[in-house]
């Protein structure tokens, strides 16, 4: 039997001595779409940051593709990426932003890959590639940030409220681009969203979080 993509055991996180996350067990299969929902402060983002290897848990163990992750966070961040609700774009062109993840990995064919990633999020490379970040609307900036992550074809794409501040059209394009990445590249998706309708429709499982715990799991 294949090991799950993520295997969390007795994972806890604390902020200022207070336990803000307590997950006795969580398995996320490879290639799955997992939704996470819950009220503000329920631990969704804390869990996502642990899954993104940005933070180490205060207690417990995280295994990724069957292997322990402690001390391997830097290497794993090359395969796992996170996009937040209000992402930061670098002070360079749209193409420079999308190419950044490729450059730090020394990947070739950067132009072709950035064009493909921009097209995947519904941005015409001919029109948008040379624009500066201040020449983008909020929705376009969000899509550029997503393209920057799709360009290096991550194993896992973690999305924290990816459509919360977007208009309907941009939100639909972001959702579609994420789903296409799963279908085309086998990228696993973990999506935090208040949009329960969408999560239920596309996810293999939806976790409901409350007070730092997984209160429910809808397969």
């Amino acid at each position: 039997m294949n090991a799950p993509l993520y295997h969390l055991r007795d994972v806890t996180q604390t902020h200022g001595g207070r336990v803000v996350l307590d997950v006795p067990r969580l398995d996320i299969p490879a290639g799955a779409i997992v939704g996470i929902t819950g009220p503000n402060g329920s631990g969704k983002t804390t869990l996502l940051r642990i899954l993104a290897f940005l933070d180490r848990p205060a207690g417990g163990a995280v295994r990724f593709q069957g292997a322990a992750t402690l001390g391997r966070e830097r290497e794993l961040r090359r395969r796992v990426t996170l996009m937040v609700q209000n992402p930061y774009l670098l002070r360079r062109s749209v193409r420079g932003n999308v190419a950044y993840g490729l450059k730090v990995r020394n990947v070739g064919n950067i132009r072709e890959k950035t064009d493909r990633a921009l097209a995947a999020v519904g941005l015409d490379p001919g029109r948008f590639a040379d624009r500066a970040r201040h020449e983008l609307s909020g929705g376009e900036a969000q899509r550029v940030a997503l393209a920057a992550r799709l360009a290096f074809e991550p194993t896992v794409l973690l999305l924290d409220e990816p459509t919360a501040s977007l208009d309907g059209e941009s939100a639909a394009l972001v959702r579609q681009a994420a789903l296409d990445a799963r279908d085309r590249l086998g990228t696993s998706l973990v999506v935090v969203s208040h949009d329960l309708g969408w999560l239920t429709e596309v996810s293999d499982a939806v976790l409901a979080m409350e007070n730092g715990r997984i209160a429910g799991n809808t397969p």
Partner: protein, 231 residues
């Protein structure tokens, strides 16, 4: 009032006719200021970046010291440099007194705290989302540092322009260390001081006009960089 207008008229004549003395002072000022800014950038960007980026014991004290150096009187810097490079000083054998390199050393000491302090401020004011973004894009620690430095580029240019504005218009260091030697170390500011004391307003006004144009250009450039860096 007549003598001021007369001086202004003669000043324009000196500038238009390419008066060698006037242009010698302009040339010395440009050379010493530019070399001092290049040296200040070379010496100050990395410490400024570390001061803004890293946390270390005594950081606040270092920051306070650097900020205090911003208002260090130029005549005191001139005096200290003079003490070191004069014949009796520890660097006296190098023959730097009353030379352009000696002036550049003094002006570099003047510009350095500006570069360090403003670079540190620029790094401190970077968006807090930058580092997590770079981490999630897979950057290594070294790539994070170099990218952060590149994100600060407009702030560093702003620091360079601010330092240039201070260096180009100072008089104490140029006078004490340079000695105001005609054709060699006479700068715009020392020439203005000398010519005015001699009652020669024309050259003083001519050089004053050049200095005002430089200051105006520096301010416009600083404003432009500030607008770009805020985007």
């Amino acid at each position: 009032m007549d003598y001021i207008l007369n001086g202004l008229w003669q000043a324009l004549g000196l500038l238009v006719s390419g008066d060698p003395q006037t242009y010698s002072a302009i040339q010395v000022t440009a050379i010493t200021s530019l070399l001092a800014i290049v040296a200040s950038l070379g010496l100050g960007v990395v410490p400024g970046f570390l001061l803004g980026y890293a946390d270390f014991p005594g950081k606040r004290a270092v920051r306070t010291f650097v900020d205090s150096m911003l208002s260090f009187p130029t005549v005191v810097i001139g005096l200290l440099v003079y003490a070191f490079i004069s014949r009796r000083g520890p660097l006296g054998d190098m023959g730097l007194l009353y030379t352009v390199p000696g002036m550049v050393i003094g002006l570099t000491i003047l510009g350095l705290p500006i570069i360090v302090a403003l670079t540190a401020s620029a790094v401190e004011h970077l968006d807090a989302r930058l580092k997590p973004t770079l981490l999630t894009l897979g950057a290594s620690p070294w790539q994070i540092v170099t990218t952060t430095l590149w994100e600060t580029r407009f702030g560093i240019m702003l620091a360079a322009m601010a330092a240039f504005g201070r260096v180009v218009s100072e008089v104490g260091i140029a006078m004490i260390v340079g000695g105001n030697i005609k054709w060699h170390t006479r700068t715009i500011t020392t020439a203005i001081a000398l010519e005015t004391s001699k009652g020669e307003f024309a050259m003083g006004i001519a050089l004053g006009l050049v200095l005002m144009v430089v200051a105006f250009a520096v301010n416009i450039t600083v404003s432009a960089f500030r607008r770009v860096s805020e985007k």
